[in-house]
Amino acid sequence: MTNSILLKSILNSRDDIWRLGDETPKNLEIYKSGLKELDTFLPNGGWPQIGLIEVIVEHYGLGELQLLMPLMRNLTNQDKILLWICPPYKICTSALLNAGIDIEKLLIISSEVKKKDALWAAEQALQTQEFGIVLLWQNHLKRNALHRLLLATKNNKTLGVLFKKEKTENSQSSMILKLEASSRKGLNMRTKTRKMKLQILKINGSLKPKRKKTITEIIIN
C-alpha cells in the first residue's frame, strides 16, 4: 500500500511521464485563444503553440476562422508571419483589417497549386520558425501525408491548423487536437454575434476524450 502511494507521488512529481488516462501532456505551451469560453473549453486553457490541429466543418465558412482570429491578431502583433495554404475563396482584406490583422504579415499560397505541392509547402512551413501559424485547407488526406505534417511540427514552434470538410475515422493519428465545428442559427442583431457549436473529437494523450464537457457553444463574431 505504502509502495503504491510512493510510486504515485513519484509519478505525480514528474511532468515528463505520461500515464494512461492523462488528458493532455502537462507541459504544453499554449496561446490564449482570445475568447474566454474557448479558453476554458480547450485543453490547458488555449491553443497549443506546437502541433497540428484538425478542424472539421460541414462546409467552409461556418465561422471556423473566427475561432482563430484573435490568435492571428496577436501573432501579427508579435511580428509573426501567417501562412494560408489553399484558402477556399478569395480573401476580403476589409474583414481582416476589421479584425485587427496586419495583412502585411500574411502570405497566401493559391488554391490552384497541386495537392502534393500544397502539402509540401505546409511541411516546409511547419519546419520553419518564422511562421506563427500555418492554416491549410485540404480534404481527403492520406495517413502518411498527415503523419509527415505531424513530424514537421515536432521540433518547431509553429502551430498548424488543418481545415477539412469530411469527417474521417483517422483517429489513430497523433493529432494534438481534433475539433468539429458547426454553426448555430440565429444572429444576435444587437451585438452582431452568433453561436458556434464545438465538439472535441480527440485530444492527444488519451484514448478517448475523458472530459466531462466535450461539446460547447461559443459566441463568435
Binding site: 467552409y60 465558412g61 461556418l62 482584406t93 476589409s94 497566401i108 493559391s110 509547402a121 520553419t128 518564422e130
Partner: protein, 475 residues
C-alpha cells in the same frame, strides 16, 4: 580660431606663394600642418553628354566608360556622370602624365563615339578625389599636382557644383555666397548650424582635411559554362550530377572574386523537344552550392524530363559583393535575436517555395481603399511593391471570403435558395459604383443566414431588379 577665415587666410598665402615662388612664409593655418601631403593623384572625367539620360541608361553607359578607364587604373569610382580614378600608380607604367593623359583621351573619345555620344568631356587632376571631381564638373580642365594649389583652384568654382541640395544652396546665396572662396571666409560653426555637418564634408575632403572614402567600381562579369553530355540522359538524378559539376565551377568562380549571386539560369538542351530552362532567383545573394542544389531540385520536381538531355549550360551575370558574415563568432542566442537572420530564413523559404510552385502561386494580400468590394482586395505577387499608404479600416461588417464572381441565387415563392434555404438577417447597405464609371453597379447588400447556420453576404442587383446574388461568406 577654428573657422574658414583661417583657411581663407591660408588660401591667400597660397595664392601669393604660387605667384611669387621665391617668397616663403610660414602657413598660419593650423589645419594644413595637421594634414599630411597626399600620396595620390586623382583624375576625374565629367561627361556632360550623359546628363539628362534615364537612370538605367546612364548607369549602363557610365559603366561602359569605366570599363575603358580600367585599362589605366585599378582604383575607379563612379559619381553619377563623373568617373574618378587614381593615376599616380600608373604614371611610371605609362611614362609620365602627358602620355597617360593622351592615352585616356584617345580611348575615352573612341568609346564615346562607339556609344553614339559627342566626344566631349572635361577633366580635373589633383591630389584629392573631391577636388578633381569639382574641377571636372566646373569644366575647368586643370591639372594640380601640389596640395598647396588646391584651394586657389577651388576658389573660383561656383557653389552649384557642390553636393548641396536646393535649400542649402539658397541659404548660401542669401548670405552672399556664390563661389567657394566665399565659404572660406565664413565661420565653420555658423555654417555647420545652417547647413549641417555633412554639407562641409565635401570641401574638407577636397582640401584633405578629412579622409575620403570611395566605393570601388568593379566591372560586371558574366559566367557561362556548359557541359556536353557523352550520351543522352533522361534520368533526373544523372542530370543533377552534371549540374553539380557546373555548380562546382560556378562556386569557384564566385569564391575567387569574392562575389555572391542573386540568380542564374540553367538551360538543359533537349534532343527533340524545347529546351528546359530553370531560372533560379534569390532574394538574398548566396554562394552556397548546397543551397543552389536544393533550389534546382525543387525546380526539377515540377518539370518532367521527357526527352533526353544532351547539353547543360549555366549562365550567370547578376553578382553582388559577398557579405562577410561573422555570425559564427557570435554566441547563438545573439544570432537568434537578430531580426535580419529571422527574415533571412523566411526569404530562404520563399525562394525554395518559388522554385517549386512558381512565383505566381505565392501571393500577399493588398488592400485598396474603395467602397466597391471587388476592388478593395488585391492579391499581388510576393516581390511586387505594395502601396505603403496605411489602409483605412472599414467600419461596416464585411465577410472574410469573397467569391471570385457573385453567384446567382434561386428564388422560389419569395424564398431565396443557394444549396439550402437563405433568410435575410440584416441590411440593406447600398453600394454603387461611381456614376462616371462604364460598368455601373448598384447593389443592396444584406447579411443572410443559411439553414445550416452559415452567414452569407448577398445582394440584390438594382440595375437588374429581382436578381439576387451571393458575394461572400462570413467565416
Amino acid at each position: 580660431m577654428k573657422n574658414f577665415e583661417l583657411l581663407a587666410l591660408s588660401s591667400k598665402t597660397c595664392l601669393k606663394n604660387t605667384k611669387a615662388h621665391k617668397r616663403t612664409r610660414p602657413d598660419p593655418s593650423p589645419y594644413q600642418k595637421k594634414s599630411p601631403s597626399s600620396p595620390s593623384l586623382w583624375c576625374a572625367l565629367f561627361f556632360p553628354c550623359l546628363q539628362g539620360l534615364q537612370d538605367s541608361e546612364r548607369k549602363k553607359n557610365i559603366s561602359e566608360l569605366a570599363k575603358t578607364i580600367s585599362k589605366f587604373s585599378s582604383t575607379i569610382t563612379i559619381e553619377s556622370t563623373t568617373i574618378i580614378f587614381e593615376i599616380k600608380s600608373s604614371l611610371r607604367y605609362f611614362r609620365g602624365i602627358k602620355k597617360l593623359k593622351a592615352g585616356i583621351d584617345f580611348s575615352v573619345k573612341e568609346k564615346l563615339k562607339f556609344l553614339d555620344f559627342n566626344a566631349i568631356f572635361y577633366y580635373g587632376i589633383s591630389p584629392t578625389l573631391n577636388c578633381s571631381s569639382l574641377i571636372a564638373k566646373s569644366k575647368k580642365n586643370l591639372f594640380i599636382s601640389k596640395m598647396s594649389q588646391i584651394k586657389p583652384a577651388l576658389n573660383n568654382i561656383s557653389i552649384n557644383y557642390l553636393d548641396l541640395d536646393k535649400k542649402q544652396k539658397k541659404i548660401l546665396r542669401n548670405i552672399g555666397v556664390e563661389k567657394i572662396r566665399d565659404i572660406w571666409r565664413l565661420p565653420t560653426s555658423g555654417l555647420k548650424k545652417r547647413l549641417g555637418e555633412r554639407a562641409l564634408l565635401q570641401l574638407k575632403q577636397a582640401i584633405d582635411l578629412e579622409p575620403e572614402l570611395i566605393e570601388r567600381y568593379s566591372p560586371q562579369e558574366n559566367f557561362t559554362s556548359s557541359y556536353n553530355l557523352p550520351y543522352p540522359i533522361t534520368n533526373e538524378n544523372k542530370v543533377l550530377l552534371v549540374l553539380k559539376k557546373l555548380l562546382d565551377k560556378f562556386c569557384i568562380f564566385l569564391q575567387k572574386r569574392d562575389l555572391s549571386t542573386s540568380g542564374f539560369l540553367i538551360i538543359l538542351k533537349n534532343e527533340k523537344t524545347e529546351n528546359i530552362k530553370l531560372c533560379i532567383r534569390l532574394r538574398h545573394p548566396s554562394i552556397s552550392k548546397n543551397y543552389f542544389i536544393t533550389l534546382i531540385k525543387a525546380h526539377l520536381e515540377n518539370k518532367q524530363i521527357t526527352s533526353p538531355i544532351i547539353k547543360a549550360t549555366l549562365n550567370a551575370g547578376n553578382f553582388q559583393r559577398k557579405d562577410h558574415v561573422t555570425s559564427s563568432m557570435l554566441p547563438t542566442h545573439f544570432k537568434d535575436c537578430n531580426r535580419k537572420d529571422a527574415r533571412f530564413e523566411l526569404n530562404r523559404f520563399i525562394e525554395i517555395l518559388t522554385a517549386r510552385i512558381g512565383e505566381e502561386s505565392i501571393k500577399k494580400p493588398q488592400h485598396i481603399d474603395n467602397h466597391c468590394p471587388e476592388y478593395t482586395a488585391l492579391e499581388s505577387k510576393i516581390d511586387e511593391k505594395t502601396l505603403k499608404k496605411a489602409p483605412k479600416i472599414p467600419q461596416n461588417l464585411r465577410p472574410i471570403w469573397l467569391l471570385p464572381e457573385p453567384r446567382k441565387l434561386n428564388k422560389c415563392n419569395h424564398q431565396l435558395y443557394d444549396s439550402r434555404k437563405i433568410f435575410l438577417v440584416s441590411g440593406p447597405e447600398r453600394i454603387e459604383s461611381r456614376w462616371w464609371k462604364k460598368n455601373k453597379t448598384q447593389r443592396d447588400y444584406y447579411i443572410a443566414e443559411e439553414d445550416c447556420g452559415a452567414r452569407l453576404w448577398v445582394f440584390q442587383d438594382k440595375i437588374k431588379p429581382g436578381q439576387w446574388f451571393v458575394h461572400g461568406v462570413f467565416s
